[in-house]
Amino acid sequence: MEANRALITLLAVIAYLALCVGVGLWSLRRTKSASDFFVAGRTLGMFVTAFAIFSSTMSGFGFVGGPGLMYSMGTSSIWILGTIVISNIIVLNLVAKRIRLVAELRECVSLPDVAAARYGAESVRASVALVVLLGVLGYLATQILAMSIVLQGVLADAGVLENPSLALCVAISCSVLVFYSVTGGIVASVYTDVIQGVIMVVASVLVFITVLGTFDGGMAEISRIVAADDRAAGGPWGTIGIMGALAWFFVFGIGVAGQPHIITKFMMLRRMRELRYVIPVGVIAYSFAALLWIGIGFAMRALVIGGGHPALATPDAASPEFLQTFTHPLLAGVVFAALLAAIMSTADAFLNIGTAAIMHDLPNAIRGRSLGNELAWARVITVLLAISAALVALYSGDFVALLGVFGWGTFAAGLVPVIAIGLNWKRANVLAANVAVASSLLVNFGLRSGFGFGTVRLPYGVDHGAAALLVSLVLFLSISLLTKPDPIDRDIERVMGL
């Protein structure tokens, strides 16, 4: 079996891709309107919603980037995972109820729809749509790139193609993604998310068991080796230090309430009472998936330090190297499928909300009505958006990486005040909302790009997104407190009081 490791991985990946195509075909008959395409006709049950949220949150970062951070920085990234429970309580209390109720009341199909309903202003719809679109383009491009790199590695290892080009792998992976996203819209997306989520949870648990078996003494021995080599890496802050770790805790803890690919899922929930169990189920799934993040990253650091494995060329190689070297071939196959699943589940969510921003929100903001025949346009724009993101992924060089890291912080800084706080606070007004969005783009992009002079490094390695979130929150709250509140539609006001 060991001799066929690469072939087994390839077969697992092909089986997974075929499953996605099958779900796309199955969802085609269930997608008859724009509401079905964007919010699944508000028919999702508790389990599907919980797993759709978990899968969209996890992304390829959880399977590759996360273990890479553990490998390079020690325990620092546990501060990101440490927000799993508390951030979901914040999402539940700030966003889930309000967004679900406003969406049903006003038949909203997108986040900018909700913003327009809350503030009664097309300018806020346009601002939110712009943030969503910029973030989506970056996120989508990075997910497509990650998906293609994984596929390239699998095809090359199996010897199916000699040096498969990245462009070919982008074409193959995008075709599958676009097929099920176009045919089944969000219905296909969420049901593939469920499959993807289950694969991720099972794979993570099995990999963690493998990690524990790699060292006599399990995690305790791994911690001893890491801490003996570098006290900081084994301590509670990792190599980033206390302030940098706390900044991550802040931006990931509160920032999750502004992530459109996560919070729009609440709009799709069938009944409010099902919200009760959505968060606990999602948190349990995420906690299992976190085992892979911590386990592989820390184990690879200990293995390299202890001479059990050569040093890695890049931190992101931690996960693939561990899987190829230390896991059973069948498990490696499942995890590679899970990795692709994690990436695709995030990509399809962004494809859907990006399409909504282009064909529904921007036309509404500019000319007061959306495009006619929304379902047909939705499918066309899904294809065009995927092609655009693929081109950005292939040809924009470092810009794609900049856009990728730009995404989370921008969503957090732009949408936490405007959506999460705004849906709960009647004093929040249009001016404050637009200033918060503008500042989120300006501060985040300015700090990361240095306006052409290179990235600005903040003291203590504090994340740029944390700084942007603080600036936008301070501006949003102070402008709202210092200026007159705008009138709110009576129905929205009553929903805000529930």
Binding site: I78, I89, V109
Partner: protein, 182 residues
Amino acid sequence: MAVLLALCAILLGLLAAAAATGAGRATPLPHPAHAPMQVGIDAGELGAPTWAAYVAGIAMLGTMWVTMLIGFREGHWIRRAVGAWMVGYVLLFVVLVWSFDAYAAGDATIVLGFTAPTSLLVYGLTLAPWIPLLAITWAFEHAYFGSREQARFDEVVAQRREKGGRSHNARGDSGDDGGGGE
């Protein structure tokens, strides 16, 4: 919201003060034998946490506390319960920072697979919020959204639809009493 504003201003002020005074410029270093792996700030010589870290940590947890309380029904016991829990959570954070001093001084105790202060992070700060989450799940109907709220919401929806407000573009002008807020 004034509390949230004050807490965010404190955090932003700390960041601005550090930038202005040139504090916090140390960066992780490449591992001497295994780059691109990194080793800690100050090349592994762990500095004691400063007062700024305590202030930043407590202010940050304060922002989370405020945002956690917003969605609950006014006057419900769960608001007080979450408040009390947050006091314990802040104390847990303070204990974690204190325990780091012993670790930095050379204590090599391993607890449940991690060094002692890291264990407090993994099993304490990460898992402690399960307490309020389970409480919210248990008291969901009374504290968050129950049949009373559902009935009031159904009434709002019915009124809006009676007035022909089935707008698809989320505008408020096609139904209800458009723009009639206070």
